[in-house]
């Protein structure tokens, strides 16, 4: 396994794409964020805690609803699958017991698609939940990786790299970066390859976390500076 090969877009095998985060860009939702991995970008909006239909009400905690909309066409089975996984992951992260009988809705919209969209969706949802001030146990960061037919591990793969890969892995971690909150692996791979994927994603998710932190700090610091002038 080599980690020095150069990929079509000039990256190293263990390098993630340039990140971009914009928080609070939508006016109407309670919280919103755009998370971009270069040409892959997802927009997230969070509403809540708000009133819920009695049918969906849970008396001891908030209900989380996730809607995932693809870039083009109608949402299908894959989108339901993403919704299910994002919901399951955030049910363990959001402190739902603090807002019983309410609904927290997470809307995810693909805005540009170029591989690893599901990781971008996880990260966008985290940023939007933070923007909405929804109480959370931790923040969630996600990274994907693929293994090509040469056995090379490609971190944060593009669409083309995923198509030609023998296996594709998505991981999501909390800020402790131990174990994983979510994992999905498709294709054929050995246990050693799986462990290597887990390890490389675990290491590189710290870059996502530190970028999230920078984004929040930048947004808040400008506000504090303005307040201090008063």
């Amino acid at each position: 396994m080599t980690t020095t090969s150069i990929r079509p877009d000039g990256r190293q095998a263990d390098q993630i794409r340039p990140l971009e985060i914009v928080q609070g860009l939508l006016h109407r939702p309670d919280g919103s964020a755009q998370f971009a991995l270069d040409k892959t970008s997802t927009l997230a909006a969070v509403y809540g805690p708000m009133e819920i239909k009695i049918r969906d009400e849970k008396v001891d905690r908030a209900t989380i609803e996730v809607n995932y909309k693809p870039l083009t066409g109608q949402s299908g089975v894959r989108d339901r699958w993403v919704e299910f996984n994002v919901r399951r992951t955030f049910e363990g992260v959001v402190l739902t017991a603090l807002h019983p009988n309410t609904l927290i809705r997470i809307e995810l919209q693909e805005s540009r698609v170029h591989g690893s969209e599901i990781s971008a969706a996880f990260n966008a949802a985290t940023m939007a939940l933070m923007d909405a001030g929804v109480p959370m146990r931790t923040i969630v960061g996600s990274v994907s990786c693929a293994i090509d037919d040469q056995g090379t591990l490609l971190l944060d793969p593009t669409e083309h790299e995923i198509e030609t890969a023998t296996s594709f892995h998505i991981f999501a971690f909390d800020s402790e970066m131990q174990g994983a909150l979510f994992n999905d692996s498709i294709g054929s791979f050995t246990p050693e390859q799986y462990n290597a994927c887990h390890e490389i994603c675990r290491k590189s998710v710290s870059k996502i976390f530190s970028f999230m932190r920078t984004a929040v700090e930048k947004k808040l610091l400008t506000q504090v500076q303005q307040l201090q002038k008063e």
């Binding site: 919280g31 402190l95 009988n101 923007d131 909405a132 001030g133 109480p135 146990r137 929040v216 947004k219």
Partner: protein, 228 residues
């Protein structure tokens, strides 16, 4: 204000008491866990002057009711004993018809659906519908609460409402130096403004909303330009 510590959910918050005998109080955004005191919201860590109350100030638009807070709401339904008031939280608040100044069983206020009221939350519990009152139940006086006639209600972020209640926030005194105006600030992200002319009311509302991230000098400029 000291240089702010910025925390993200899951970070342990460096909360300390200046006097070790004092009880430390945790406000919004902080939670005590086995691992210590943890932040559950993104924002900067703040504490009061005596140093034993700590909380997190971040960005928030959705109101979560808290006892004793003043709110501006709209009546959305009425029954024999209660008005139902939309205050922007997950569930609407109950306002007893007798919770007004001078209200008795014979002399009850007659407010239509759509009326804007200014009141104070008396019950705010995560498991119950919030309840509010439009008078001070200790003195029986209105204390400025009650029906808000005419005027305009605008929505804003929860942080802006909190800051407007601070007398050092410049925008309201600047506007007040140019024209007489009535303002009711609800901590639920709603502000009611009334002046004698609709044109001036809209001016004032826009100025308040736009002042959220402005310094004193910028606010002065804004108000000056409005009244050239």
């Amino acid at each position: 204000m000291s240089p702010a510590t910025i925390v993200l959910p899951g970070d342990s918050a460096p909360v300390t008491a200046t006097d070790p005998k004092q009880v430390v109080r945790l406000g919004p955004g902080l939670l005590q866990t086995e691992a210590g005191i943890q932040a559950v919201q993104a924002g900067y860590l703040a504490n009061n002057s005596s140093g034993n109350s700590w909380w997190i100030t971040g960005s928030k638009k959705r109101y979560v009711p808290a006892t004793g807070e003043p709110v501006v709401g709209t009546i959305i339904a009425r029954s024999a004993e209660y008005y139902k008031v939309d205050i922007g939280s997950a569930y609407s608040a109950l306002l007893p018809i007798l919770a007004f100044e001078g209200a008795t069983k014979r002399n009850r206020p007659n407010l239509a659906v759509g009326t804007v009221v200014y009141g104070r939350l008396t019950i705010a519990n995560k498991d119950m519908e919030p309840e509010m009152e439009c008078y001070n139940s200790n003195s029986g006086k209105a204390d400025g609460y009650g029906e808000l006639k005419e005027g305009l209600v605008v929505n804003c972020s929860l942080q802006l409402c909190q800051r407007l209640l601070n007398p050092n926030t410049p925008i309201l005194s600047l506007l007040g130096s140019k024209m007489p105006l009535d303002v009711a600030i609800g901590l639920n992200g709603r502000i009611w403004v009334f002046t004698k002319e609709p044109r001036l009311t809209i001016f004032a509302c826009n100025a308040i909303i736009n002042s959220e991230f402005m310094s004193q000098a910028q606010c002065q400029n804004l108000v000056h330009e409005l009244f050239v």
